[in-house]
């Protein structure tokens, strides 16, 4: 589904990604772990098309297309979803309005009829129940005055509504207490399917207790230093990231 080759990206002249190679197939769940400042969020943002990054080298193919040729909204309509680490406030715009506009923009691209207000409401109610969210939420302005946990739930609610092909969740677990984490994880697990790939960007193994990944990658200094199965995450939890970096230096030497 997604194939990244030797991707280099920089921001304000500073190179952050230094040769990423990554292949993701439909139906898989990947976890990308790594220390702070390693480039995890940058990778997620570059895939989604956040302005402000320069792609200096390499290529990214998504469903056979050159992803870098597409605008952010085209990528979204082609099924790429980014769960934001820091969801943005949009004062005065209700969740309902935002989500309905978004859903219909994506449906138009897929050649599906737009949903009307009634259809939208019944659909969103069902998803909100899943996320254990109060319906009053719909009339609140997007992310305005939300707690950390509410913001993350809102991201997963959007994920559930938009049903993307490729979901990249950037630290969706951060700022959640155990109960909220479980709700969010259940929401994500409910979306696992043969046609969908999910990428979890996270610091901690904690989330992976709830969502079992197929592949775990360690990203440090702008490169993927090591990939493995779910057991790699446990090892990282016990030993930290230092040994991976040591090991990779040894290999390079």
């Amino acid at each position: 589904m997604l194939s990244i080759r030797n991707l280099h990206a920089s921001r304000d002249g500073k190179e952050i990604l230094r040769g990423i190679d990554l292949d993701i197939q439909a139906g898989e769940v990947h976890a990308i772990m790594g220390p702070n400042g390693s480039g995890k969020s940058t990778l997620a943002q570059v895939i989604a098309g956040q302005p402000g990054y320069q792609i200096t080298e390499g290529e990214v193919a998504y469903l056979g297309q050159d992803l870098m040729e597409l605008s952010p909204e085209e990528r979204a309509r082609e099924g790429i979803f980014l769960g934001f680490q820091y969801p943005v406030e949009i004062p005065g715009v209700s969740i309902a309005m935002f989500l309905k506009t978004s859903l219909n923009a994506i449906r138009r691209q897929q050649g599906l009829p737009e949903v009307d207000a009634m259809e939208f409401l019944s659909l969103v109610r069902e998803k909100m129940k899943l996320m254990q969210m109060n319906e009053a939420f719909l009339t609140r302005a997007v992310n305005e005055g939300f707690s950390g946990g509410e913001k993350k739930r809102n991201e997963v609610l959007q994920l559930a509504m938009l049903e993307p092909r490729l979901a990249i969740l950037d630290e969706t677990d951060s700022g959640l207490d155990i109960d909220a984490l479980e709700v969010v994880a259940n929401g994500i697990n409910g979306l696992r399917s043969a046609g969908r790939a999910i990428v979890l960007v996270t610091h901690y193994q904690r989330l992976l207790n709830y969502i079992k990944p197929d592949v775990v990658h360690v990203l440090a200094q702008g490169r993927i230093l090591k990939s493995g199965g779910p057991e790699l995450a446990l090892e990282l939890e016990q030993r930290g990231y230092g040994w991976v970096e040591q090991e990779s230096k040894a290999v390079a030497a």
């Binding site: 989604a48 098309g49 956040q50 302005p51 402000g52 605008s71 952010p72 909204e73 990528r75 979204a76 309509r77 979803f81 980014l82 934001f84 969801p87 943005v88 406030e89 949009i90 004062p91 005065g92 715009v93 309005m97 935002f98 506009t101 978004s102 923009a105 994506i106 691209q109 302005a141 959007q158 938009l162």
Partner: protein, 482 residues
């Protein structure tokens, strides 16, 4: 410039959508202004003597005034002798009695603007006193209103049919000595709307006027007078768009509102005069004096305006809170794009006891637009227990526009409570990306973010108008997809 800003720039640099020009024969007086021209205007309108006298007094006073230059706006000097002060569309001798008699070209113009009169008559329940250039050519729903004793007619008709009402109230809120533009208007006003709601009557429909400047090089000098007698209620809508043209046009309207005891007047405006092109050529100069007088106890006047057009907007809808416990409100969205300049705000003058006022202003600047909020809250010594709340927010799109806030507060009563809040923000790259990442086009995203910013004002507009206003805002920003 980064990608997001470039995108914003593209969005806001498109062309005016209502740019077309209707060919109509016009009955226009020669250029320039002198007493003969004023006599001619008055004669053409078959005005009673008192009206002509008033105009002449105003004109003589105007000669002693000079154009004010304190506002945060810049423009080439206006040659007041190079303006035609009267223009009426020709359509039969005595004006049309029904839509069937209205020039079909004119009706097509309205249709292009999406305001088919017929449809409005039937569906919307809105009585339209349509002003095309200076003379009202179609008035509807009069009978229904007449049954309730409501007078809603062109100003020129009121001068003839209800001279006593006109004489009693005209110039009592905005005297011709008030300011340069109001004085000019008093001398040369062509037409406008007149509305009187008798005691205890609640006007059952939104009263509406669509203004449109058309004839070339003609100043537009509307005069509107609305009186809500004791315990009466009226909601009045004023909306306008204008066709594409090259030359600067002067528009100096005066609106006077009078609310007696327990009366309420709600006045909503959507203003979309031609703003000029991307280089700042052409566009309407809009110098308007709007003022309401809460004359009676517990009276209530609210102004709601959505200002997206004109090259220059100079406008401060105000309320004099004379009656005890009277209430004044001002809700404003002002958008400037390209080279547009707006200096707008309000004045709330607290005279009576326990008077209250609320001011919510939302300024949006894009392109090279300059947007100033100028507001005066004045509490006189007599106004025990006066309260004001002012909130004034600015939103910037791009890096070359400007937002300015000039709040003036004069409090002479120690008992008064005056609150002022202000903020300035920018549509961020991150907000835009959050929306586009959800598949929403940048056009729709900007439109949505701006609508959200203006929500507190839009909710004050009558439903039908709110939808139109939102659409207009979209069109003004994007110039396209709406």
């Amino acid at each position: 410039m980064d990608a997001a800003n470039r995108q914003l720039d593209e969005l806001i640099s498109r062309d005016y959508q209502h740019g077309f020009y209707t060919e109509l024969e016009s009955d226009t007086v020669p250029l320039g202004l002198n007493e003969d021209i004023i006599r001619l205007i008055s004669a053409k309108k078959h005005e009673p003597e008192f009206m002509l006298e008033w105009r002449l007094q105003a004109y003589r006073h105007w000669l002693t005034l000079s154009e004010p230059h304190w506002a945060h706006i810049h423009y080439q000097p206006i040659d007041y002798q190079d303006i035609a002060y009267y223009s009426a569309p020709k359509s039969g001798k005595d004006g049309p009695q029904s839509l069937a008699e209205v020039d079909p070209e004119l009706l097509r113009t309205y249709e292009k603007l999406g305001i088919p009169l017929k449809e409005q008559e039937m569906l919307a329940g809105v009585a339209v006193d349509a002003v095309f250039d200076s003379v009202s050519v179609a008035t509807t729903f009069k009978d229904k209103l007449a049954d309730l004793g409501i007078i809603f007619c062109p100003f020129s008709e009121a001068v003839q049919k209800y001279p006593d009402l006109v004489r009693t109230y005209l110039g009592t809120v905005v005297p011709f000595t008030d300011n340069f533009y109001a004085c000019l208007n008093s001398a040369v006003f062509s037409d406008g709307s007149f509305c009187y709601i008798p005691p205890g009557v609640r006007c059952p429909m939104e009263l509406s006027t669509y203004f449109r400047i058309n004839a070339k090089n003609t100043g537009q000098f509307e005069r509107t007078l609305i009186i809500a007698d004791k315990d009466a209620y009226v909601s009045y809508l004023e909306g306008c768009t204008a066709p594409m043209r090259d030359e600067h046009q002067l528009h100096a309207a005066v609106v006077e509102l009078i609310a007696l005891e327990d009366a309420q007047i709600k006045y909503s405006t959507v203003q979309n005069w031609y703003p000029g092109d991307k280089e700042g050529r052409g566009g309407i100069y809009n110098f308007v004096t709007k003022r309401g007088d809460c004359r009676g106890a517990r009276s209530h006047i609210s102004w709601t305006q959505v200002e997206t057009g004109s090259a220059i907007t100079w406008k401060y809808p105000s309320v004099i809170l004379r009656g005890d416990e009277s209430f004044g409100e001002f809700y404003s969205v002002a958008l400037t794009n390209h080279h547009q300049q707006a200096d707008t705000g309000t004045k709330m003058i607290h005279v009576g006891r326990n008077t209250r006022s609320t001011v919510i202003s939302k300024g949006i600047s894009a392109g090279l637009g300059q947007n100033a909020y100028r507001g005066l809250i004045k509490v006189l010594a007599s106004a025990d227990g006066a309260r004001n709340y002012t909130q004034c927010d600015s939103l910037l799109l791009g890096h070359r526009c400007g937002a300015h806030t000039f709040p003036y507060i004069e409090v002479k009563n120690p008992d008064a409570q005056v609150e002022h809040e202000a903020s300035t923000s920018r549509i961020g790259e991150d907000q835009l990306f959050y929306c586009t990442q959800r598949g929403i086009s940048p056009e729709d995203a900007v439109s949505m973010i701006v609508s959200g910013f203006c929500k507190a004002v839009f909710k004050e507009l009558p439903m039908e108008f709110a939808v139109e206003a939102q659409k207009l805002l979209g069109v003004s920003l994007e110039g396209g997809t709406g």
